[in-house]
């Protein structure tokens, strides 16, 4: 049996250097960054250094980086903060149909507060067409949010094109949820041309609990968390210094080996996709075949169900994920698979494998060994499978 972690989309293991860097801030450097006495000095400096490192990774200025506790918080701050602060000039929000639920649900909450939301459709690969975004724009559109890449089907969106179009013909702010891309592929806020960008440390070998929202200077935004003056008054609360320090180190390491990261996982991804779609019958890739995250494999396996696959894979040491209804705590089918037009029964056979630095070709070969018998076993049990 082999221990194979294929769920880097859920979270990544923090690098040893990240953990080492965090430890002093749990111990002798435990102070509050806002304290005037000497206990505040080290933590305050560490937070600002981390800010600088995150800024460098995405091509931003330090004072445009705001720390939050999660990608979801960054997304909520972007959607609600922009909508509320700028409500006088417009109450229309445009988001893609495949956004993370933290964007979609935040937009739906704004609907309850009197805003209007337009969901932009996607094609069968989950790609947003800038033309469709343009059609959705109105005079009162205040925010457009389109993710940089989708974590369920891996598709990378034409954000730069969309941002350019939106900024060219409207006053709306443009936000991109880049939680799935920062630290995996090059992300530059100037190239993308966005006003806001979300990122999360636990996606690129940093700790959980440390994320950020890039807010371009001069952007008007209402804080979600009021109170003290932390994060220039935009996000009150004593900073999670260890987590922020960890995020900084993770960002620094990502900046150094970004190219190697995708080079490492790409062949593993392609071997897995080849195996799944050619060695086993009735398995289909979801998301774009080439414009996709370098370590992302998402398929639907016909005639069987996702959670059952995950349980059997888990027994064999393989950790994976799925978008099936049964694997969602809310017992809802994946809105992303629905938006790309995957038939509901087929969507229940969703399997999601996300590779990382710790994976090797041996892992892929092991998966190739253990997965086909799992599929056979479940298909033999299935009333839908009529094959031999």
């Amino acid at each position: 049996m082999r221990d194979v972690y294929l769920d880097h989309g859920a979270t990544t293991p923090p690098r040893p250097e990240v953990v080492e860097a965090m430890l002093p801030y749990f111990k002798e450097q435990f102070g509050n960054p806002l304290s005037l006495h000497r206990y505040g000095d080290g933590p305050r400096q560490a937070v600002e250094e981390a800010r600088e490192k995150v800024a460098r990774l995405i091509g931003a200025r330090s004072n445009e980086v705001y720390f939050t506790a999660s990608g979801s918080e960054s997304n909520n701050l972007a959607v609600k903060g922009i909508a509320l602060m700028n409500r006088q000039r417009g109450k229309h929000i445009v988001v893609s149909a495949v956004e993370h639920l933290s964007v979609i649900n935040a937009a739906q909450t704004m609907e309850k507060l009197g805003f209007e939301v337009t969901l932009v459709r996607v094609d069968k690969y989950g790609t947003v067409d800038p033309v469709d975004v343009e059609k959705a724009l109105r005079d009162d559109t205040t925010l457009v949010s389109v993710m940089h890449a989708n974590s369920e089907v891996g598709t990378i969106q034409p954000v730069a094109e969309i941002a350019k179009m939106v900024k060219g013909r409207s006053k709306a702010y443009v936000h991109t949820d880049a939680v799935a891309t920062v630290g995996r592929i090059p992300v530059d806020v100037n190239e993308l041309g966005v006003d806001l960008l979300s990122l999360a440390g636990n996606q690129f070998y940093g700790p959980k609990g440390a994320a950020a929202l890039y807010i371009k200077r001069a952007t008007r935004i209402m804080p979600l968390i009021d109170g003290g003056i932390q994060e220039s008054g935009r996000r009150a609360g004593t900073e999670d210094v260890p987590a922020i320090v960890g995020l900084g180190v993770a960002a620094e390491m990502a900046a150094e080996d970004l190219v190697e990261r995708s080079a490492h996982v790409l062949p593993l991804r392609d071997r897995l996709i080849e195996h799944l779609t050619t060695d086993i019958d009735h398995v289909f890739l979801t998301g774009h075949p080439t414009q996709r995250l370098p370590g992302h494999v998402s398929v639907v396996v016909e005639f069987i169900e996702g959670e059952a696959m995950l349980l059997l894979l888990n027994m064999q040491g393989v950790a994976a994920s799925s978008g099936s209804t049964c694997t969602s705590r809310a017992l809802k089918a994946s809105h992303v698979l629905t938006a790309i037009g995957v038939e509901p029964a087929l969507a229940n056979g969703s399997l999601l494998l996300t590779l990382g630095l710790g994976n090797s070709m041996e892992d892929v070969e092991y998966f190739r060994e253990v997965f086909p018998p799992i599929v056979d076993r479940l298909r033999q049990m299935s009333p839908l499978y009529k094959g031999a």
């Binding site: 959670e307 349980l311 049964c326 029964a345 049990m381 839908l384």
Partner: protein
């Protein structure tokens, strides 16, 4: 996977009575792959007893475990006894199901009952 009991995992890993009965006396199907669960039960009836029970299931760990447990509970019982099997009985025999999987236990009992009803309808026709 912490939320499943040992009994549920056992029935999922080693399901009893998987298969079809080609000349079944009754067949019952419940659920729908759109929701993520489809269970089909096959029964062979002899002298008012369920001589044989088999099932095929498309669904999650709970769905497969429930189907297996229902088939085990029903096999050998009289039709009356089998009709009395409820989802609560099934969940209890499995030593509990997570709250959001209780609906799977409904499906199992329902599919079995449908198979029995199918047999009875056919038997009436003679």
């Amino acid at each position: 996977m912490p939320q499943y009991s040992e009994k549920v995992m056992d029935h999922f890993m080693n399901p009893r009575n998987v298969g079809e009965i080609p000349d079944a006396d009754g067949v019952g199907s419940v659920g729908n792959p759109v929701c993520g669960d489809l269970m089909t039960f096959y029964v062979k009836v002899d002298d008012n007893r369920l001589e044989d029970v088999k099932f095929k299931t498309f669904g999650c760990g709970a769905a497969i475990a429930v189907s297996s447990m229902v088939s085990e509970m029903a096999k050998g019982k009289t039709l009356e006894e089998a009709k009395k099997i409820t989802n609560a009985d099934v969940a209890a025999e499995l030593e509990g199901l997570p709250q959001n999987k209780m609906h799977c236990s409904n499906l199992g009992a329902d599919a079995l009952h449908k198979a029995i009803e199918d047999y009875e309808a056919k038997a009436k026709e003679g």
